[in-house]
Symmetry: D3
Subunit: 70 residues, 6 copies
């Protein structure tokens, strides 16, 4: 499937922290940066998320806020 | 101000495309990747967005979806 | 790509209304219902959206609000 | 109250899974499909969600991503 | 309809700025503050939004980011 | 940092309820109203959230839904 989201960043799962209904997933980007995602625990299991797995972080453009230094 | 968002990526404005109420902002990341943001036109003007300006892309962790290859 | 989103509904594009930076896409569901999506114009073009095209509406579970009758 | 959201789908609660601050709610649609929602536990209690209860799934159009097959 | 959203603020429409597919709505709160909403133009028309109209601003708790001063 | 979000409301933390990966934060507004936010537990700790702390609730305009009475 090809998705409409303008932001698709490739990375590797660095850490999965399970809660009761959600999991927090830390993704390591090639350049050394990190992204954090919260998805449902069932989705994490369905995607087979585990440390080191290749993964895409997908963000809709309307969910990207901007900031500037003063 | 320090924000709760787990994802704050530094980049430079590459292109601003104004609509009537929104603007589309393309941000160039240091590694060469790009992010796209949709914000209101008034916010774009208030932040003084223009090509080459340093900017942060801010994404709440709950807005990061994940994907894996089949 | 397989996505983490818990809600993936198959339908057909019924109408595409282009704005300057966004497009509004009306999707017809098999049962006769409709969904509406706002994505960037560039994404609409990249996906080749046009009337009658098969399409998936994808919604992250954290973006589904609930309501009940009084 | 009448809401601005373009997507309001009627269904029945199929399953409620409580976490500590959030609950996951599976909704069965008339056609047999399902939707999943994550809301706060307090909201779930305030709405009196329980198996079989009539409920509306409400999604803002800007939160609907699209996908197409390759 | 009663909604799950934890944040429902009553106000009055102060200004409606129509775009092609979206409209920007400025809402005046009782205490003098303002909120801004972007919804689809069709939703704005369906709700009959016009200056001075009583309106509720509805925000899901997962869409509220926090910030603190340094 | 100055953010693009059109909605920045100043308040005080009234209550923090920790889950496993998320925390629920109730914010008291000057006029007596309340807002509720769900952020990750790590963000809550990084911001040093505690009862009585000054805090900003930040909401992107595209995440504000509207409602009207019938």
């Amino acid at each position: 499937m090809k998705v409409s989201a303008r932001n698709v960043l490739k990375g590797k799962v660095k850490k999965v922290t399970p809660g009761v209904v959600n999991v927090e997933v830390v993704i390591e980007l090639p350049g050394g940066g990190e992204l954090v995602s919260i998805i449902t625990k069932e989705s994490g299991e369905r995607l087979g998320l585990a440390d080191g797995k290749d993964v895409y972080a997908i963000v809709k453009a309307s969910n990207v806020m901007l900031g500037v230094d003063h």
